[in-house]
Symmetry: C2
Amino acid sequence: MKRKACAEVGIRSFDMNLPEEVLESELISKVHELNANPDVHGILVQLPLPKHINEEKVLGEISLEKDVDGFHPLNIGKLAMKGREPLFQPCTPKGCLELLSRSGVSVKGKNAVVVGRSNIVGLPVSLLLLKADATVTIVHSRTPDPERLVREADIVIAAAGQAMMIKGSWIKPGAAVIDVGTNAVDDPTKRSGYRLVGDVDFEAAFRVAGWITPVPGGVGPMTVAMLLRNTLDGAKRVIEE
Amino acid sequence: MKRKACAEVGIRSFDMNLPEEVLESELISKVHELNANPDVHGILVQLPLPKHINEEKVLGEISLEKDVDGFHPLNIGKLAMKGREPLFQPCTPKGCLELLSRSGVSVKGKNAVVVGRSNIVGLPVSLLLLKADATVTIVHSRTPDPERLVREADIVIAAAGQAMMIKGSWIKPGAAVIDVGTNAVDDPTKRSGYRLVGDVDFEAAFRVAGWITPVPGGVGPMTVAMLLRNTLDGAKRVIEE
């Protein structure tokens, strides 16, 4: 999907497929090669990495100026801190905020509940919502009563990776619901034997929510769009300097 | 207080008093000097800095290994991210968790409400509580109904810098209340004309809370203790390497 989107907007993309048993040092020298290549403005390391490779170490080697995923801890630190701005915001969280803003949902002063606290979505989207002046509650697998908290939310970001854990009855009428989950569930009526569902029971929540994103088709395409935007911004920055 | 505490435990501390009109470049070369000095294991830049100096730039120059305040964005990023650990945790947030743990207050699965979102306290203490498996809500000046949220909290961290904004009636019976605020209020009965109070109405909250820290005398000394601990840890790390 990313490759196709790049082609459509005129960004040249190329894959580096490395064997699963690649050495960490080899992977890191590939990253260094891309860091040094002036034709490259964005580098993605596809996660998860094989177990013998230290993810933290590899991601830390990506040049900050090309970290279009925005996962470098220095980027996350600046995302978290008041008065600081990261070079790149992580794509899915940025896409969630973009969806809210394009739908005319104001964030300031709203109760936002984020379900999930992953480094990729839950944590950074919480930090972005906080910077946008929402009151933010982060709910996770150790939260005994997620339902009580979600019920109070004007904005729900579902990023737990639990198929349909958020029921229609949990949604406050009129709330904005952004479903980041993508879970495969068995479905014998499909040729593949499964279908994709989100973290929200869409059919039921749809009747209550003011806004809701479908799965598939909601957050996914917006994430790709934000990745293209980050890459373009990175390229512009290099050209302007 | 920091100087005295250092002397008591046998840490040598020294001040570098620079004039208010010091050039940013001069301040930065002082930081570099301390970075390079092997006798120095911790560097504090006293904030706030004069307006003509870029705080972000100066703090970013402190060697990560000597950033005992833990304010470097790379440290904050690692504090935020699952599976990552900063070299140093910021002192006041670390002290808050230490107070809870030493009082036998378990954090896991509890509702924690943090009032305030400063880079120094509110934000990092929220991140630490989240890592300790609390369900965390961050309340701030744009939150329309802080009272409703504080009422649900098993753990309240008050770090808004608003004298006695949190009333006794807001506290859930038995909750643990950590008051990070230090505010001067007029008091004609004092020779100085003022006294220090926290962000919590202590007298009233004391009757309801299970645990509560006083101001002054609660979080302040624990912050200093954590600073000493960070400095010691930094020194140990250098010696072990």
